[in-house]
């Protein structure tokens, strides 16, 4: 791979390669936020 734009293009498969990585990150971030909210709501109920 020679350049940044080549890297992003992934030989024409950019949509598929980054689409799968993006969904993994979205799911992980969403899960962590959800867990944090659940923890916070427990805390608020108790105080």
């Amino acid at each position: 791979m020679n350049s940044w734009s080549d890297f992003i293009a992934m030989g024409g498969y950019g949509l598929y390669v980054w689409g799968s990585l993006g969904m993994v990150l979205v799911c992980v971030v969403a899960e962590l936020i959800g867990l944090q909210l659940r923890n916070n709501s427990l805390k608020n109920k108790k105080r």
């Binding site: 791979m1 890297f7 992934m10 030989g11 024409g12 498969y13 949509l15 598929y16 390669v17 689409g19 799968s20 990585l21 969904m23 993994v24 799911c27 992980v28 899960e31 962590l32 867990l35 659940r38 923890n39 427990l42 805390k43 108790k46 105080r47």
Partner: protein, 245 residues
Amino acid sequence: MKLNWFKYAAPQSFFVLSGKLIKPLMLIAAALFVLGFYVGYIKAPTDFQQGDAYRIIYLHVPAAWMSMVMYVAMAGWAGLGWAFNTRLSSMMASAIAPTGAMFTFLALWTGALWGKPTWGTWWVWDARLTSELILLFLYIGFMALHAAIDEPRRADKAAALLALVGVVNVPVIYFSVQWWNTLHQGSSISMTSAPTMVKIMLIGMLIMTFAFWAYAFAAVFMRVRCIILEREKNTEWVKTYWEQQ
């Protein structure tokens, strides 16, 4: 020194232990993910047949492995909780389910994005894909059934039955590529023979797998701590815990 394993079967002790492990596990997961990304997306060469589309393997295979391993773990804990009436076991099963379902969804999603450029279709009703979809429904069924029953211990038992029956699906997923003629390719790695992959690709995939493992432990521990606080809320130690916060 005598180590008492049963100590950690008590929700209170496990709450403290798991609380200490979350941060290191998250750091390990993040570090391995960055390293796996470097090896898989930057270092590893382009595949001569599939081009760069093959790089989806670094997420697809670890996610699919996690989806199966976590299902077995969930069913195991649920079964233990049912057989021995240990509260923490059932809480572990409930804590594993959402993360397991997430990995199942990710296995299907990344599979669809890999199938489109290489097979020409997002989805096909072959044995591997269909049994993995059934796995997702089993996770969702476990969570829905548990949520539908008000009394937690009864919910644990009903959900455990569903989880244990569903275990038969796991070997079906694993061996589906051998038992049936599937569009999905066979395993690149097996216990009995040398991997049919270039070494650096294999290393990248294994690093990502360890990253997913570490993340899964951290997420499950975070969730089980919430579940413990919810379900043990009337105990003295939880009341004391909240007072100290």
